[in-house]
Symmetry: C2
Subunit: 157 residues, 2 copies
């Protein structure tokens, strides 16, 4: 499956927002992202996993320059949203394995996970699509992660 | 941004596996997906959000025909993985908004979230990339969701 990988993309200039403990009921995702969109703020990764005991976490990343504005939007909405905690983290980097038509992610993803694990790099967030496996890690490991993944997928020229 | 949307894709034949309460330490994602990949099982969506108190949930979907095999792989790995609970759900449908170059997901995502919320359809899982916003919902709402999203994005011919 290696032949499908066209490269490793990365971005250090994002901030991750996590609304911890939102209600898992219809309309909540819109209540979170609607106000951010109304201010024309560009959102990149959006990840939400299933809820346990009716609550879940909703995470999204924005360009770091928009951090202050997003923070004030979310803080002003807290009463309507009812989340337990707002976690903001600018010390992140996004690393993606980019390929074409990755029918099954398992092979490519497990190879990427293995490569990062061999370097003891912790994966904070994972999101996949047909063309990309996106992982958020601590920004201090970005260079090591990119080097490791280049090697794992034989992308070293 | 409507012009960018090319269609709504969906799939009812998947099963969602969630390992609830895995340790958020390097190597865990590989320990989960490595064994699944070793058996050549095709994995589609992979979602993991940030951890709280050192534990997080890891979710992935497979074709429903592979459900039993994945279940026995994960159950046999429980001692090495140390998860609190294995949640399996075949009553799901995956619905995706497919577009090209969606630089910012906020506009398209919040419109999709609003459309589903107006029909009281709960979004269980969210994962995004440049070309797709993927949502997992209960399979009984699939037809309504696809109709609603077609309308919201003016895709009705
Ligand atoms: C948490 C959020 O995604 C909620 N389930 C919704 O449908 O909006
Ligand atoms: C939970 C899992 O993703 C872990 N953080 C890892 O790096 O493998």
């Amino acid at each position: 499956e290696n032949a499908l990988i066209s490269g490793i993309a990365f971005n250090k200039d994002q901030t991750k927002f996590t609304l911890h403990g939102v209600e898992d009921t219809p309309g909540i995702a819109y209540k979170i992202l609607g106000p951010v969109n109304d201010k024309d703020i560009s959102v990149d990764v959006i990840v939400q996993n299933i809820s346990v005991n009716g609550k879940t976490d909703f995470t999204f990343t924005v360009d770091s320059e928009d951090e202050e504005q997003v923070k004030s939007i979310l803080k002003s909405k807290q009463s309507g949203l009812d989340y337990i905690d707002l976690l903001i983290d600018a010390d992140i980097a996004k690393v993606s394995i980019v390929g074409a038509g990755m029918r099954s992610h398992a092979g490519i993803a497990s190879k990427a996970f293995e490569a990062l694990s061999n370097e003891s790099i912790n994966i904070q967030l994972i999101s996949t699509s047909e063309i990309k496996i996106t992982m958020v890690i601590e920004d201090k490991y970005l260079e090591l992660a990119v080097k490791t993944l280049h090697k794992a997928f034989n992308l070293d020229k």
